[in-house]
Symmetry: C2
Subunit: 568 residues, 2 copies
């Protein structure tokens, strides 16, 4: 049997392997200037032999497993069934959903692709089991490698050719039940991100139009993020700048003056966008409306006009002009002159379109203009989608309802990029001293080191240290007693740079131990519990040479460490 | 933190999901006639959407994880480092080792293939860390999906296009150290297969020639196996029939009469194999010696002679003839007449070659003919190879030795097909009643069911059942209390067909519970421990309607179950 040994040994990972020992010697300046990916590589978490390709080394793999276990635990708690589908997916299904020709799909041959996502396969799988309403709802997930033939793969873990994704899918009898599953999954997402203790936000990714898809983006809030988010100070709704539409006041005064941006369609017709001066045009808003083709190019404005001009000469003299004006433009707005000769019959105008991005302080359309929107930066780490019958219809995925009628499933899909999540947590929490992991996913939670002052300690005293390590292990704390050859300073430095939340030094203060905190403190539940037993456990906190240190009797150290980890 | 919750929830899997509830109703005859793969599919362990492609369903995935944990635990215990390399491997490395053109390698494009094995990538990885003799030995492994473009993929888990493989690699300073690593890995393999409690054997896969590669095949011993193994009754060495060479006695009498088999080279030259009448020719033995080309065909003997004849007419009248005679052929052997016209100058003869397979009762060459060889059947589930510098030289993988000189690594590689192992265990242990899993890897170890007799039980009595389940969970026993809607018989049947080792019935005998054993008993350590506490625990064994049942007080049931599982 020996499962207790297996569980124990599963958890243990050493920092003393060829991959991370010794760590490269880096000055503070160098350390600060390194990207997070560089840190992960230099510290032996991962290796990237090519752009977008990641080899997981022992420390990185252990960290990844902790993320997986956290996500798995929350999904299982919610009754979501775990499966693991083959990465080889058959073309026949992708032809049905019209996705076979996606350029980012890696194809092995005419028959198989490497799955980038699993709507096709999972729907095909579930339909052969859940053939009756009695068997619904079904919520399933998998945590597997996915593939995307990225033309411009980036370094790091945020956008790779191969990545680890948790993808979940829900199958329901009708829209109402599907929304219940959708809500349930969002609650699970909430608990997962809450566990990580990194500030996050659920952003509305709804297009806003009635009957549109319901979907949320989950973002870490961080200045290091690439996405711009806007949050309302009244209704607290958050949205990605690419999705948030400005509030349009009834009978609002039109803008005083319009700005114009020119673009060309693939056909080299001219598109003129008019919008209030000072606002930001976002062409994607209008693409979504099917008014102009998706390849409309905004290049250098002079170039646009030159191309259009010469095209006009080549053709019968007048190509088409499409004028699109923003909701902020009205009869009183001062419009710029037409920059090219034109013929009225060749001109089409679309008015009252939403062309511009919201800006800091704009009023919130979600609460009818009561609140104001404020910008922040985010890193997207998850997405929840209500899909409806988008996949069940083309895949002919049906069940028999209460009345014996065949019905298509109402579906949802829910993704978390697990390797991306790891990279994002590293990115958000790292500082100039290296990595910093939340305790729940840190490959190790505590490093115990003996200081030179402990060199001549008795066998009994050494046994007490061993017992501390053993006790921590019993308490399911991931601990390493670093007995490598390097000195105390090097060991502590390594532990801190690797991002391990707590360092315990045994030596000068023995039988007390010193505890240093490298992790991010994001709570005080544990510390409050410690305070209440302060006297009994001999716990005290002092600053020594500018470093805050906690002291505790070694025999109570395991319990104190377990409690401290609750706050990290 | 909550790791205790996570560890607990990780272990739990339910049989009451759409994938395995209800199980299909099968008569004993149907059950018996189904292949093991059919059982795994019908019982909701896996789904195979296409030949060689496997989707893992919750029960199958849980079983697979148990295999992985078992293997991982033993490797970690041995200090082997876990990594997880990308499945996308770059062509540049495979060109160096001359393996890029392997037909079974799935290629994505000119740059990447799907890794079938990882000698190239792991060597390239390790060489960037282990640059000095001080950092060696390095033993690393990974447990990842591998890919093989099988032209004839079989159903089941034994030969797939995608499969899960544990591949380990060792890197050493010299041959002696490399052999130490090789031996260590073989010891680890021994402990892994021992843990599974399925009879196994380590078969010599050594070609026998001095300086040849050292390698072992690990086989389950089973009549259902496809490989034929021979074991010596004296020195206990086992070898695959494809590798074992017969014992050649000094001054042995030559065979009385020779048999002949004709073959054609790709060039349509004739090859005549002469060997003792009654023996089995194995053409692979001679191919290994580079005497004839690897595409020599043995077809219908008349056809061979016809083709050779007509080729002779087309050419200058005489094509080459290669005569190869077995060691058992001597001057006194009666040889068959030459079946075709020939010219002596066009004839080449190789004598004393090993051409024939060993047969039941042959003498063992390993112990100089003292023992005799006996045949058995096996399923190959693992392989250990001493590689030497086969990969380190082409990949220019070196370290600096004690004298400051660059040296190539001495390597070894070690594979276990994990998905294949799961399929093989299922194949060997299944019986006419369905699957039977060893306790250590069974997705669940115990099913607890309440019988109708317990329907009106008090709240207190029901609490005692809950406590039993809780206690089992605390003891790390994987238990399910089946409270599904079906009847007692159906529940027990399901548990047994799924291969769960123990069934516990709460009801008629309460406060005793009845324990039935579905698993294969392969030890008595646990039962002996129970016997010693028999009276105290109220333990007794009785046959009830032809079924052996164990009875024990419910308050001691958890401990008894834990002990019983030790023998299963």
């Amino acid at each position: 049997m020996g499962p207790s040994f297996l569980v124990l040994s599963r958890r243990f990972v050493s920092t003393n392997t060829i991959f991370s020992s010794p760590l490269p010697k880096l000055s503070k300046k160098q350390l600060k200037s390194l990207t997070t990916t560089d840190l992960l590589i230099k510290f032996g978490y991962v290796k990237q032999p090519h752009a977008g390709i990641t080899h997981w080394l022992p420390l990185g793999l252990a960290t990844l497993r902790n993320f997986e276990d956290l996500i798995r635990g929350r999904l299982r708690e919610g009754g979501v069934l775990e499966t693991s589908l083959s990465s080889l997916s058959h073309s026949s299904l992708w032809h049905k959903t019209n996705r076979w020709n996606n350029e980012e799909l890696y194809k092995l041959n005419e028959d198989f692709c490497l799955a980038a996502t699993a709507e096709e396969e999972i729907t095909d799988l579930v339909k052969s089991y859940a053939d009756s309403y009695k068997k619904l709802p079904v919520l399933v997930y998998q945590m597997t490698r996915k593939y995307r033939d990225e033309k411009r793969p980036r370094g790091g873990l945020l956008r790779g050719r191969e990545f680890i994704m948790k993808d979940a899918y829900s199958f329901d009898v009708d829209e109402q039940c599907a929304l219940q599953s959708f809500n349930k999954m969002n609650e699970i997402y909430y608990s997962i991100f809450k566990d990580l203790k990194v500030p996050f936000v659920k952003a509305n990714a709804d297009s806003g139009s009635i009957g549109g898809d319901l979907s949320y983006e989950w973002h870490f809030v961080s200045d290091k993020g690439e996405d711009t988010l806007y949050t309302c100070d009244n209704c607290h709704t958050t949205g990605n700048i690419e999705k948030v539409r400005p509030y349009v006041e009834k009978d609002a005064e039109p803008a005083e003056k319009a700005a114009v941006t020119y673009a060309l369609t693939t056909n080299n017709d001219l598109v003129c966008f008019y919008y209030p001066e000072g606002k930001h045009l976002n062409i994607k808003f209008i693409e979504a409306e099917d008014i102009i083709d998706l390849n409309t190019r905004i290049v250098d404005q002079k170039k646009v006009l030159d191309i259009f001009g010469s095209e006009n000469e080549k053709s019968d003299g007048f190509k088409s002009i499409i004028r699109i004006t923003d909701v902020g433009i009205g009869p009183g707005t001062e419009m710029p002159d037409m920059a090219v000769p034109f013929m009225k019959s060749r001109m089409t105008t679309f008015e009252n379109m939403e062309l511009t991005e919201v800006q800091e302080g704009d009023r919130c359309s979600n609460c009818e203009g009561i609140g104001h929107l404020h910008a922040s930066k985010g890193i997207e780490v998850g997405h929840t989608f209500y899909l409806g019958k988008k996949y069940s219809i083309p895949l002919d995925a049906t069940f028999v309802d209460r009345n014996g009628e065949k019905q298509f499933y109402e579906m949802g899909c829910y993704g978390i990029g697990v390797s991306r999540l790891l990279g994002s947590v590293a990115e958000v929490l790292r500082d100039d001293g290296g990595l910093r992991w939340p305790a729940i996913i840190s490959p190790l939670q505590v490093t115990v080191v003996k200081s030179p002052a402990f060199e001549d300690a008795s066998v009994d005293d050494n046994c007490r240290v061993s017992r501390l390590v053993q006790d921590l292990d019993t308490l399911k704390v991931r601990v390493e007693l670093d007995e490598g050859e390097s000195g105390l300073g090097t060991k502590l430095n390594k532990s801190k740079q690797l991002g391990i939340p707590l360092q315990v030094i045994v030596g000068k203060a023995f039988p007390k131990v010193e505890i240093e905190v490298r992790g991010v403190i994001s709570g005080d539940k544990g510390m409050r519990a410690i305070e209440s037993k302060k006297a009994e456990w001999g716990f005290e906190t002092r600053e020594v040479k500018g470093i805050v240190k906690h002291f505790v009797d070694i025999d109570h150290a395991a319990e104190v460490i377990r409690l401290m980890l609750k706050d990290l």
